[in-house]
Structure formats: C-alpha cells, structure tokens
C-alpha cells in the first residue's frame, strides 16, 4: 500500500502542475475554429426555422393551457407552427390551434343555422378587438340550468324555395323553428332569408368580413325527441349540462345582416365502468452483476510466481418479462377526474447464467507481469415470481368525442408476492429451490386510448410500474430494476349512458 502511495505521490507532485511549453498554440487558429463553429450553429438554426416555418410538418408535444382550464395536452400541429421551446410560444401555438384542432374535452363545432340579426336580441354579446378575431373565440357557460322553453332547430336536407308574400321574390327557407314554452302549446313560425345556393353560401360565408364574434350560452333541455338525420341536436345531451353556442354576425355581399351560429354539444360519457385489462411488461436488467468478488490483493504467492489473484461470480441475466391482468371498477367524478379500485395478478421472471471468473498475475520470468483471466460457466438461476395486489388509483380523462378518449391513471397497489428461485449446478446437475414470499408496495401510471361502442369499449395503452422493494424481496439483487414498462389492451363495460 505504501508503495502505491509513493507511486501516486511521485506522479502527482511531478505532473499536477505540469505546464509544458505551448507557444506553438496560437490564438488565431482557435479564433478561426470558434468562428466556424458559431457560423455552423447559426446556419443550422436558420435552416431549421425556415424549414419548419414554411415547409415542414411540425410535431409538437408539450404542456398547454386547454380552453377553460389548465390541463395536459398532446397537440399535433401540422405545418403552421414553428417549433420553439419557450412557454410563451407554446401558449401562443395552443391559442392559434384552437380553431383548427379539435381540442380536448370538446365536441366539434356544428355550423348549423343562419339567423337574422333580429333573432339575436336578448342574447349576451361580447365584442372582441379586431386583432384577436382571427384565432380567438369567446365562450361563456352556465352551471345552473334554467329551463324556460324548448327549442328545436330544423335545417332542410334540400333547399326549400317558395315565393314570399311580402317581396314576391323566391325565398329560401333557411330555418324552421318551433318554440314550446313550458305549459303551453307549440307555436311554429318560419323564418326567411334571401335565397343563396348552398355552394355559393358556403363560399361566400368564408369570404365574409366578420365584424365581431359573439358568444351565447345556451342551456340544454331535459329531454328531446328522438333525432332524425335532419335534427342537429344530440339525443344524448345530458341533464343540466351546458351546451355551447357561438354566434358570429356577418354581412353578405348584398348588405344583409346574417348570423352564423355554431353549436358545440357537450360530450357524453358514462359515469362508471368495469374494466378487464391484460398486458406484457418489460423490466430492464443490467447485463451482468458481480454477485461475489474476492479482490484481495494480499493473496500473492511469489513462490509460485503468482503475484495476485482474485475471483468473482458473475450473474448474466438473459430473459425478463412480466404478464399482468387487472380487473377494476372505475367511477368518473367531476371535471373528468376518476377514481378506481382494482385487483391485479402479476407473473414474471428471468434466467441468469452464473460464471465463475478467476484472475491472476504471473511473472513471465523477466519481471513483466502478465494478466490472466479464466472464466467458467458453472450454473444458472431461474427466478419466477407471482403477485396479487389490490389497487387504488385516480386519473384524468382527455375526452375527444363520444367515442374516443385518452384515459390516464396513477395509483398504488398492495402486493403479496411469491417467489421461487431455482439453481441448476452444471457440475452436479442438481437443482436447488428456494421459496419466498414478501409484501411489496408498488406505484403505477398508465395512459389508455379508449374507443367506446355503446356499453362496450376497447382500449390499448402503455404503463409504467415501480415497485418499492421488489428486487430485494425476490432476491433479485440490484440487477433487477424496480421499474417496468408495459403495454396492455383492455375491454370495458360502461354501466350507464346518460351521465357524463
């Protein structure tokens, strides 16, 4: 040991402040290299910005503020948003995308009716600055339902042209409404507008200069008649749930004041469900683990020309996987939060070869030490474990529409773990077995893409699991990672179809 310190000390004192002559190194070469490198970086930035800004297709993932609340969004932004990494740009990109992407938790806008200006009397109107009109829309909503009348909106499948009594000109019946004040009989009226052919209407509306945008909250009704293909109202509008209506006044080429009405019915998802999911997991392992090492430098045998030898047992795992199946009950709370309980069965294991390695130094007779390393495979381990757990979890649902949503969940589980560890000795061909059981707590997170067909739904998803002391519990030691990554598929039964 003292000899080692002397060697170290000699080199440290001699070379720690070693400053050889470096006069041949001029600053000019360095300055040129720095300038070249800076130029390349700048050029790369410019090219990247230009490419993505004009021609590229940009994939953008990140955190964003979503409509009426703060949440996590995964946004796909084709073509028109340059990639940047600061929050302001992310928020700006989100705002810009609002009109063009179907945002999380919202149904698509239904451009349903053309109303005359007079029909907007009595509604709440909020004007926006012209500079924000291009990609902003103002929305408001009520949470307290006040049902005063029922309203049905009818749009004919084909243009219905009749000759009006007042003008004598052909008129297009753009809308037919019937109002039914509660407790009274229905009254019907027809509204008329200057005839515009459908194709022309569509085109002209896109070219109309919008003066402002207005938002009108509209309460949904408690019950509606069964829908037909001519009724735009949803048949599954939930009780007391706000339906959003956006009114955009516009003036056509003839100077008539029209209003463009967009309605966004609320998304309806059942309140609770039973789920059965199964999946495969992958547990990263170290490529090898030194299980036992004798690195003793005192074992020199000079008489035999051995200066040092050590030995170690190395485990080399080869296979690792997990299978899980989970049965759970899940209840959705307000604001798309959820709470669930479940039971999980987990099965996994791996094999590991056992190598015995012996190393030593031998003097070749002229003072040169030669290193030798002999490795022999002496056996193999087979680890197998099973666990049963009870889980409690919560999460948030990102609802796209009434068929699709991404459901996230995270929680923890209490596991009872059973493990067997078999060792096959190559020399004796004997198999020894150790059985153990232990208690393990695990945490997990998952995201599932779910598709619903009436009461049944299907999902695929990814999950990550972390186990507190699994490795120790199953005697896997440190090369068995306590984190696993999984893919799963599930089938879901939704209990009700009425309440969000």
């Amino acid at each position: 040991m003292q000899e080692h310190d002397e060697i170290d000390g000699m080199f440290k004192s001699g070379l720690e402040n070693f400053k050889p002559d470096a006069s041949h190194l001029s600053y000019g070469a360095l300055a040129t290299a720095i300038a070249a490198k800076t130029a390349v970086t700048t050029a790369t930035t410019v090219a990247k910005t230009g490419f993505f800004a004009k021609w590229g297709i940009t994939m953008y993932f990140g955190l964003a503020t979503v409509v009426t609340g703060t949440g996590v969004a995964i946004v796909y932004a084709p073509d028109h948003v340059a990639v940047e990494t600061n929050n302001k740009v992310i928020l700006a990109a989100s705002a810009e995308l609002k009109d063009e992407l179907q945002l999380l938790g919202e149904s698509p806008l239904i451009d349903s009716t053309i109303l005359s200006e007079g029909e907007l009397a009595g509604t709440s109107v909020e004007e926006l600055p012209a500079s924000t009109q291009s990609f902003n829309e103002v929305k408001s909503s009520f949470n307290t339902p006040v049902l005063s009348r029922q309203k049905e909106t009818f749009v004919p499948k084909q243009e219905m042209i009749q000759y009006g009594n007042s003008t004598g000109k052909p008129e297009l019946i753009a809308q037919q409404e019937s109002f039914s004040p509660i407790g009274l009989s229905k009254e019907s009226k027809q509204r008329k507008a200057t005839p515009i052919r459908s194709a022309v209407l569509t085109e002209s509306m896109t070219e109309l200069p919008l003066k402002n945008k207005k938002s009108v909250p509209m309460l949904t009704v408690q019950s509606l008649p069964n829908s037909t293909d001519s009724l735009l109202a949803s048949t599954e509008i939930p009780v007391g749930k706000v339906e959003e209506t956006i009114v955009e006044p516009a003036i056509d080429s003839s100077g008539n004041t029209l209003s463009r009405v967009k309605t966004r019915p609320p998304v309806v998802w059942p309140q609770s469900k039973f789920s059965l999911k199964a999946g495969l997991g992958y547990v990263p392992l170290k490529t090898e683990l030194i299980e036992n090492e004798n690195d003793g430098i005192t074992d020199s045998i000079p008489a035999l020309a051995y200066y040092y030898f050590g030995d170690k047992v190395i485990l080399r795992p080869t296979v690792n996987n997990e299978f899980t199946t989970t049965f759970s009950f899940q209840k959705r709370l307000k604001n798309n939060m959820q709470l669930g309980v479940g039971a999980t069965y987990l099965q996994g294991g791996w094999d590991a070869f056992v190598d015995y390695s012996q190393e030593y130094w031998i003097d070749n007779g002229v003072g040169i030490l030669i290193y030798q390393n002999d490795t022999t495979r002496i056996g193999e381990y087979n680890f197998d474990y099973r666990s049963f757990s009870l889980n409690l979890f919560t999460g948030y649902d990102f609802v796209f529409n009434e068929q699709w949503m991404i459901s996230t969940s995270f929680g923890f589980g209490l596991n009872q773990l059973f493990m067997t560890k078999d060792y096959l000795s190559y020399s004796s061909n004997d198999i020894s077995r150790i059985n153990r059981s232990d208690f393990v707590v695990h945490g997990f997170g998952a995201a599932d893409l779910t598709y619903r067909v009436n009461n049944l739904g299907f999902s695929v998803g990814a999950s990550i699991n972390g186990r507190t002391n699994l490795a120790k519990a199953i005697d896997g030691q440190e090369f068995h990672n306590s984190v696993s990554f999984g893919l799963n598929a599930g089938i879901h039964y939704f209990l009700t179809n009425k309440i969000r």
Binding site: K12, L30, L369
Partner: protein
C-alpha cells in the same frame, strides 16, 4: 451559475476576442499539460486544447465567477481529453499485457538515480494502455474518487480499482526496469 442579467452581461464581456485571448494565453499551457498526460500524441493534445477552449467559449455562461477559473477550465480539459479518447482511440481496458511488451521502450536522460523529470513521468504514462493511463491520471493526479471515475468512464467502480491496480503494477515494473538500467550504467 449565472442567475441574473448582470452576470450574463459579464459573460458576454469576457467572451469578447481580446479578453478571451488573454484567458487562452494564460491557461493554454496548463490545458496542454493535461492533454499530454491523457493522450499519447502531441497532435492529439493540440486538438484537445482547441476543443477545450471552444467548449469554454460556448459554455462560458455556466462558469461561476465567484470561483477561480483555472479548475473550471481544468475540468473541461479532462472532459475533452476523455471525449477525444472515446472518439478516436481504440478504447479498451487491456486485459493481457503480452500485447504491450513491445511498447516498453527505455527512457533515457535520467538526471540522477532515483529521480525522474516531468518528461520521464509523461513518457512512463504514455507507455500505459489507454485504460490504465486514464484511470491512473484521474485517480492519482487529478484526485477523483473511484465513484467519480466510474461515472466519467461509464465503468464500474470495481473495474476502476482493478485498472488502477494494474496501472500501478505496470508503472512499478517500468520504474524498476529503468532503475536497473541506471544501476547497470553506473
């Protein structure tokens, strides 16, 4: 770490050509010395010096001005040397010294018995395989722990200890060989 606008302005000020040239001229010998310890070839050492100062220039905002700049540049230089070895050297932890027998060239110009010049020590380091030399440099001269070396080189601590042990054994053999040559000459 720069935490305010004033500090960033100082960093920009320091990166001006005339100031950075002064910094370069002050520390280039130290960086060149480090590079020579880790690398066998002077041309490689020259490259590492350049890489070191380019890295210092581009990352100057990360320098904590409350501390002396020498150790910061030294750290960059060691990193640059290790990176250079990874990229350009056949980085292998030698397990059989038979391959190295032919590399044991005698070092002359010893001044007196029992003493070695800096050039002698550098020459001895250059005789070591890359793995031995790197670990020995990091541990014995630059004062890193085996844990830090393991992180640096992406090896296990056990391997680091083993390589250091082997490096010392080899150095000892070289030193004894040189001493015997001197004794024979005397």
């Amino acid at each position: 770490m720069f935490t305010n606008k004033h500090s960033r302005e100082k960093a920009i000020e320091q990166k001006r050509p005339e100031n950075f040239e002064r910094l370069y001229n002050t520390h280039k010998s130290m960086v060149y010395g480090i590079a020579l310890r880790y690398l066998r070839c002077k041309d490689d050492a020259n490259d590492v010096v350049q890489e070191t100062f380019i890295s210092a220039y581009t990352n100057y905002e990360q320098y904590d001005e409350s501390k002396p700049i020498g150790p910061w540049i030294k750290r960059i230089a060691i990193n640059a040397a290790l990176m250079y070895i990874r990229k350009n050297y056949r980085f292998k932890l030698i397990e059989n010294e038979r391959e190295l027998d032919s590399a044991h060239a005698p070092v002359d110009d010893e001044k007196e018995e029992g003493t070695f010049t800096q050039q002698d020590l550098i020459a001895i380091l250059h005789e070591l395989p890359n793995g031995y030399r790197t670990v020995f440099n990091l541990y014995a001269i630059d004062g890193l722990t085996h844990q830090e070396i393991a992180d640096y080189m992406e090896i296990t601590e056990s391997t680091s200890r083993s390589q250091l042990l082997k490096a010392r054994k080899m150095i000892k053999g070289i030193l004894e060989q040189k001493m015997s040559v001197r004794y024979a000459r005397a």
